[in-house]
């Protein structure tokens, strides 16, 4: 058991570094991330520019810090959107049951029948490829999984004695739902939201890499990789550092997510 808490600690540290650099990027970066410099084009990592410069002479470290902010921001809004919508839908569906549940779940299952990134691509075609398009597209694509998990939790909870007791005591349906059912759904919601944060950051960087995300010159890790690609032969750091940032962030989220699941999901206890 001990070593997996250790993994969770490493995950936590990685995520803390991510959040700190994103926050620091709001107020300070070593260089202006947008400032072009033709004398410093494709400068190798060194004392001046710690992680080198790109094809326009912009400081890679500064751009990565601003990119971290974009990833965290888009990831958080996406997860927030999917969690709020999914939880509401799941609560209503699981608590109302009957035809309401039937209709909601039919639509939900139809959306789940799409591979997530495909649905997001389709929605991007509707919303347009930009920052808010991504948040809506990914948010809508992730909502059905959250709705299904919450509905499942509600369905098993509503048969339990303490819910029955709350009803017998004369508490209203809404009160029972918010006061007794919702708090007991928080564990599965937290576990899923953590992995969703990872999916969102990965999908955002993939979409930016494809040119369907945040448009340049604003830096994101995905569009930095795409822009650096033609130059990787002379400037290997342009292909290295943005990808490393994405991978370390995902590793952090995966480790943290595993640790959270071991802690919060009793069914998984002892398995890992």
């Amino acid at each position: 058991m001990k070593k997996f808490t250790f993994n969770g600690l490493i995950g936590g540290i990685l995520i803390a570094i991510l959040l700190l650099s994103a926050a620091l990027g709001l107020v300070w970066t070593p260089f202006d991330p947008m400032k072009l410099s033709f004398t410093a084009r494709l400068a190798a990592p060194g004392a001046d520019h710690l992680l080198g410069t790109d094809e326009f002479g912009r400081d890679v470290l500064s751009r990565l810090m601003v990119g971290a902010r974009a990833s965290v921001w888009i990831g958080a809004l996406t997860v927030g959107f999917a969690t709020i919508c999914g939880t509401l839908i799941g609560l209503v569906s699981g608590y109302a049951r009957g035809w309401v549940d039937g209709v909601i779940m039919a639509v939900n299952n139809a959306l789940l029948a799409f591979p997530g990134i495909l649905l997001a691509l389709g929605l991007l075609a509707v919303f347009g490829a930009n920052q808010y398009g991504i948040i809506f597209a990914l948010g809508i694509a992730y909502t059905p999984s959250m709705a299904r998990v919450v509905r499942g939790a509600v369905l098993s909870l509503r048969e339990r004695e303490f819910i029955e007791a709350s009803r017998v005591m004369g508490n209203g349906e809404l009160y029972t739902m918010v006061r007794h059912i919702l708090p007991n759904c928080l564990a599965p919601i937290t576990v899923l939201a953590t992995s969703m944060f990872g999916w969102a950051i990965l999908s955002e960087s993939a979409l930016s890499f494809l040119g369907l995300g945040v448009p340049p010159p604003a830096p994101t890790w995905g569009n930095m990789l795409a822009a650096g690609r033609p130059f990787v032969e002379q400037a290997v750091w342009l292909g290295l550092f943005p990808g490393l940032c994405i991978a370390l962030t995902l590793l952090g989220i995966n480790l943290l997510g595993d640790a959270l699941r071991d802690k919060l999901d009793p069914r998984m206890r002892g398995l890992k």
Binding site: F114, I117, L121, A125, L250, L271
Partner: protein, 328 residues
Amino acid sequence: MAAERKVGPNRGETMLRFILSRLVMALPTIALVSVTVFALIRFIPGDPAALMLGDMAQPEQIAEMRTELGLDKSMPQQFLIWAGNVLQGDFGRSIVNDEAVLPLVVSRFLVSAEIVVVAVLLASLVAVPAGVIAAWRQNSLTDLALVGTATVLLSIPTFWLGLLLLLFFGLKLGWLPVLGYVSIRDDLAGGMLYLVLPIMTLVIHEAGVLIRMARASTLEVLRLDYITHARAKGLSEGAVLWRHAFKNAFGPTWTMIGLILGNLLGGIAVIETVFTIPGLGRLMVDSIFARDYPVIQGCLLFVSLSYVLVNLVVDLLYPLFDPRVVAE
């Protein structure tokens, strides 16, 4: 003896019922997926007829398209017209080059499918035994190393991994081609060179996912009483693990393999971009850039229906690994 046999429904009958029920269950999904794809394009602001024809359309053409799409009729009627065309194989024509959408989508799909299928097959062959061994040696150094590697592998985004492999094997060592694509149908040996790196990238990534899945489901089975019983009977560890545990543990992993297959078909666009492969993912992304809505719609429908179909086939084959599902 003969009387006893009639007690329950016979095996063939239960199996038939299982297959039929799965087929019937897939029908509403297919219908709802089609409605979603239809509705998605209708949500785009603007006249659907003008969207389907692009910026260069003449007013007469738009008017003709309006009647063709039935835009003067109700939404359900419009859907039926569209679904009728789709059933006859008419997915419309590309705005960009007036190509028929269905043959275009199918030809690109074959390119993506060969990469995805080979990759998932190879990944399963490596990852499933690795996951079972990790579970068998739970908490040993082997287990820690395997799980650690798997977690790192699945954290590496495929497009970055692809880029690194390209940098190393293509640019630095010069063993494999960096740009372009040759179909294996035109030149088998030459074409295979172009597939090595994309397949390797996917195998490395998906192996991470599958190792963890196979390990988790094997662990769940290894704790059950019948495993203890099998060991107590004096069976060798190999027999316990592969003949008894693995047979019961493979089910969830098998389902996961189906999900990965479908997800890859949807998410292969980045791999195709890194390796300049003219597959379905690239077609979809290019169509989004070009606002080529008939092609976008065709890709969406084709991939989502293949996803439903793959999962249906996975479901239908499930009893091979776990006959219990048939009885339910």
